[in-house]
Amino acid sequence: MCDRLCGVYLARQLEIPSQYAMFAAKKQLSRRFHMKTSPMTRRTALALGGAAVLMPATGLIHPAQAAGLAPTPTMRGGANNYRPDAPIVGRIGGGGFWMTGTVRRAGDGAPLPDQRIQMWAHTTEGHERDPHSHGATLTDANGVFRLEMPQIVPAFGQAHGHLAYDSAGFKTVFLRPLLASLNETTLNVEFVLAPV
């Protein structure tokens, strides 16, 4: 009913040591489907085995997504040159570049108003470490934020920005998105926050 390869696949999915693969897979299958002698065709078994292998790859049964919208993970290097408590400003420097985005709650995806988002980058007006390269803004009633800042230019090999959510209420997230091209004058970033 199930050839060796299919047995191994199923065993891996059921976390059974491989030496028992064939035997155990058959046993588990018949137990699961309440069958003493499995009337399952070879084709059904193969399909099930294939599905068991492919499901995790598609992310369809990822635990965090089981409850809905998954939280945004912090990116590597996202917190580099972070300065806590950057002031809320109407614009960083002379402007010309728009950092935009949304802030939503993990799970139900509800927009989060009045959330503070902080940003900094290497721009035409300064390095990442310079205090005047940093600023913050608040999301509106629809969970949308947009802040004008100087043009982001490539530094350390990539044209990139930094954003942070670092307030109480939700878990801290640091992002380091790349510009799609060097000519871009805007960067859109989505935050999905997990409650603390």
Binding site: R76, H122, H127, P154, L182
Partner: protein
């Protein structure tokens, strides 16, 4: 015959000088420089100069540069190696001063940038090759030759992949040309030296 030999010398020298000066001149015209502090600019150019040294070093090692005697070539190769190590140190320290956390991420192999790991590989390969050269007289011949060959090969591969992936001050065409020449010079030196002919183990008597 005499004239063609002279012409060849001129062409080789001209090619080498332009292969090194063109990327430096192109980078000096990069618009990115206007938004960078001097220490960041120096760090970047130290990297370009280090890469250019990788073109000269293999040619000096096999004294393939016309007009230089084998003895002179070897001496220049030795000083070139020291200059290369110095350039790498200036490159890393300058970047560290510009943005410490980014350089710490690179050295700890956790940088988000794909080219960082190749740069880190090249750093350690250059330092390793230089250390072998420093202890050369005390090392068994095979350890020295195989070690230096393998380490400089890693340094070249690391540097070229590192440079090609970076969006920085280097201009694409001159960067590509220099990359191709650096690899070609390494392959030429390896083909001339034929380190594999002496084997890995000493021959039994």
């Amino acid at each position: 015959m005499r004239l063609s030999k002279r012409l060849r010398h001129i062409l080789i020298w001209g090619g080498l000088v332009s292969a090194i000066l063109a990327p430096i001149a192109a980078a000096a015209n990069s618009p990115l420089l206007q938004w960078r502090e001097p220490i960041y600019i120096i760090a970047g150019f130290a990297g370009i100069i280090a890469m250019a040294m990788l073109l000269l070093q293999p040619l000096l090692a096999i004294s393939a540069i016309p007009g230089l005697s084998p003895h002179m070539s070897r001496r220049v190769h030795r000083y070139g190696g020291m200059a290369l190590v110095l350039a790498v140190v200036v490159h890393v320290v300058g970047l560290w001063m510009t943005s410490p956390p980014d350089v710490i991420d690179v050295l700890l192999f956790r940088s988000p940038t794909p080219f960082a790991i190749w740069g880190a590989l090249a750093i350690w390969a250059v330092f390793g090759a230089a250390l072998l050269a420093f202890w050369r007289v005390r090392l068994p011949l095979r350890v020295w030759r195989w070690g230096h060959t393998v380490l400089v090969s890693l340094a070249v591969v690391g540097t070229v992949v590192h440079a090609v992936q970076i969006i920085g001050t280097m201009e694409t065409l001159t960067k590509s040309a220099l990359s191709v020449l650096v690899v070609a010079a390494l392959l030429l030196a390896i083909a001339r030296r034929r380190v594999w002919t002496m084997g890995i183990q000493p021959r039994r008597r």
